[in-house]
Subunit: 193 residues, 2 copies
């Protein structure tokens, strides 16, 4: 009974992360309730973002210039390596990191056939001139750990300090509810007070 | 540090219902990660839904025809009156109602200056020929109750049966946690077993 154009819009919204049927219907109805101008602005914003935003030739973050403003001004002696540009945003929000980033745009994943040639590792190696520390901030899952270990194996022999984000009990959580892997990691990586 | 086109897309996503900053960022990044074709399909679906979908001249539901398929085939002796077309979808999903609907596209709200002339009440009154029952299924809040009472006052004198969706304790919930108004309503509307 739902008109085809509405069903299609619902299907498009369902492609967004973690959007199920109910949420997609809600979003689609809200588009129908918008003014035509607002709906046109929404559609134009999608196309404009996709057309104007490219990848910084140095760090791989999203930017509308050839080189992003961070790469032009930040301290280039420290590089923080992340899987995706959205991870940069999470660290930037802290406001405490002054170095540059390097987005790999993927992680090693042999099940999916993603090898070192498919992610921006070569580009990382070409940026190491004058670098004092490389912080590996890939996700703490199998692919993230494997990628971090692989990169560490390439960079440590060059005499550059390589660090990894600390793993452990999340702040504000309860030890009782920590999963075994996290608790084990927190115990083995314990710090002297 | 976020490119302007990305910030604009985030702002557009924030206009969707119950979408905060974090979710909007997540959606915007997923658009950047889409293929250009997929992003174009998404934008086109918004415009197409907005252009092709209009309001059924009888019931006020969204349709791509002049009169929706339900109005052409369903039992017209019962009309279920709802605030918005999305409420029709919720009742249709039950699969137990065979009558037609009437979407008011709004509820009486004197604080916002919405009076009987601003919602589709006149259109409802013009559909009453041969109708045996009008079910008032507006939301159980102040505006919904007021609208239901107003419409009942117009239709009951015509000798047509007017009913209202039952209010009470939601199925599967616990009496202990029911709010006072709901529990009071459930007690006063108690049914003989």
């Amino acid at each position: 009974m739902i008109p085809a154009a509405l069903a299609k819009l619902v299907a498009e919204f369902r492609k967004l992360p973690a959007v199920g049927m109910k949420t997609a219907m809600r979003y689609a109805y809200s588009v129908l309730e918008m003014s035509t101008d607002d709906a046109e602005d929404f559609a134009a914003a999608i196309l404009e973002a996709k057309n104007k935003i490219k990848i910084c030739s140095e760090c791989g973050d999203y930017t509308d210039a050839d080189v992003c403003s961070r790469c032009l001004t930040a301290d280039k002696s420290v590089i923080c390596v992340v899987g995706e540009p959205k991870d940069i945003h999470a660290i930037e929000k802290l406001g405490t990191y002054n170095g540059v980033y390097h987005a790999l745009h993927g992680l090693l994943d042999f099940r999916k056939g993603i090898s070192a040639d498919n992610i921006r590792i070569k580009e990382l190696l070409s940026r190491l001139d004058g670098v004092k520390e490389v912080i590996l901030a890939t996700n703490p899952d199998i692919c993230g750990e494997m990628t971090a270990n692989y990169i560490a194996g390439l960079i440590k022999p060059l005499g550059i300090k390589v660090t990894r984000l600390a793993h452990g009990i999340p702040m504000g959580s309860e030890i009782e509810y920590a999963d075994e892997m996290t608790l084990g990691k927190a115990l083995s990586d314990r710090k002297e007070m």
